[in-house]
Symmetry: C2
Subunit: 207 residues, 2 copies
């Protein structure tokens, strides 16, 4: 009953199938053109079947955004782990991972941050907490860097916000197409994001 979807009345794992198919669809057409009915067709069920698993279109989008935040947390944490004991390098690689993930999933990134999700009517705790996890890693990283005497002794939240903003801005500019020609390719992006963050480390002013 789990494998073949076309033969049984009950699908078996519609929930998961819907999310996977939705991600694919959003990748293809962008979050704006994504429709529930097309999703249902792609999953091989009737156009109201998704409502047994998600209250809303919005709820479905929230679920997808959550998976996005989860992989974001994983990737950045993974990147940081590889340079344990070197906070500066950790910060840079975390940022690079952030931007690279955004470049690999521009449409999902837009879904996560672009205003497609109606925050008013969504459970919100869920989404917020998963997003916070990603931020918390950054905070920890900076805290340890401060204690090692490498990072400036400013308010931790401020330092975290600055690095997050920098990386997030670069990611959004890339996924939004504002940097056409400047940063399209994968390796360009890696290089660029590393440079930009080094700049944040060292500062723009002449010393």
């Amino acid at each position: 009953m789990n494998k073949r979807s076309g033969e049984t009345y009950h699908h078996g794992n519609l929930h998961g199938t819907l999310i996977a198919a939705a991600i694919e669809l959003i990748r293809d057409k962008g979050p704006n053109a994504f429709s529930l009915r097309e999703l249902a067709k792609k999953a091989g069920v009737s156009h109201t079947a998704p409502y047994r698993h998600f209250k809303d279109k919005n709820a479905l989008l929230v679920a997808i955004a959550e998976t996005g935040f989860k992989t974001l947390t994983e990737r950045t944490r993974n990147a940081a782990m590889q340079f344990d004991g070197d906070p500066k390098r950790q910060l840079i690689e975390t940022g690079v991972a952030y931007v690279e993930l955004a470049l690999d999933n521009p449409e999902i990134t837009q879904l996560m941050f672009g205003g497609f999700i109606d925050m008013e009517k969504c459970p919100k705790e869920n989404l917020d907490s998963t997003a916070d996890n990603a931020f918390q890693g950054l905070v920890n990283l900076i805290e340890s860097g401060k204690q090692s005497g490498i990072f400036r002794n400013e308010e931790t939240e401020l330092l975290a916000l600055a690095t997050w903003s920098m990386v997030h801005g670069l990611a959004m500019l890339i996924t939004g197409g504002q940097l056409c020609g400047i940063a399209d390719e994968q390796d360009q992006v890696r290089n660029l994001s590393a440079k930009v963050e080094s700049l944040l480390m060292e500062g723009i002013l002449v010393r």
Copy 2:
């Protein structure tokens, strides 16, 4: 025939009225929920009337985004002008103006950068050129700061991209609601963006 819209067959200035009303609508409901038909109703015309002035819904959105980029260019340039001869202060104030404008117009900002506009099918030169104007001001500013020996002698485009990313990221995080509680109020934002940018100037690392 210009004033009273309900009495004449021809509206007189539908084009302008539509854009103004659309901005209002988007402010109210967000770019996602905005609809052409509701706009037409609000403007007091039939639901196909807008097609005499805009090829598409997309074309209308592009026009609105353009006005957004224009005021962005104005505001940032204006902010920079007030501190002519002090590139560091200019850079900071430009950024503050950027973030403040985004905070004042979160929905329009999302429209401009969030992926609501279909870049494939839009004239694109228009939108790109207006967006470039805003960026060009930043480039000039940095160039002059480099020549005064205040800014680090890195590639200008890199410095510009870094500052743009920082400011843009902060703006997007705020408008996206990711910073609830941290930066909601107007003065908080002014303060925060100035601090964050100072950090970019001075660098995160201990010297």
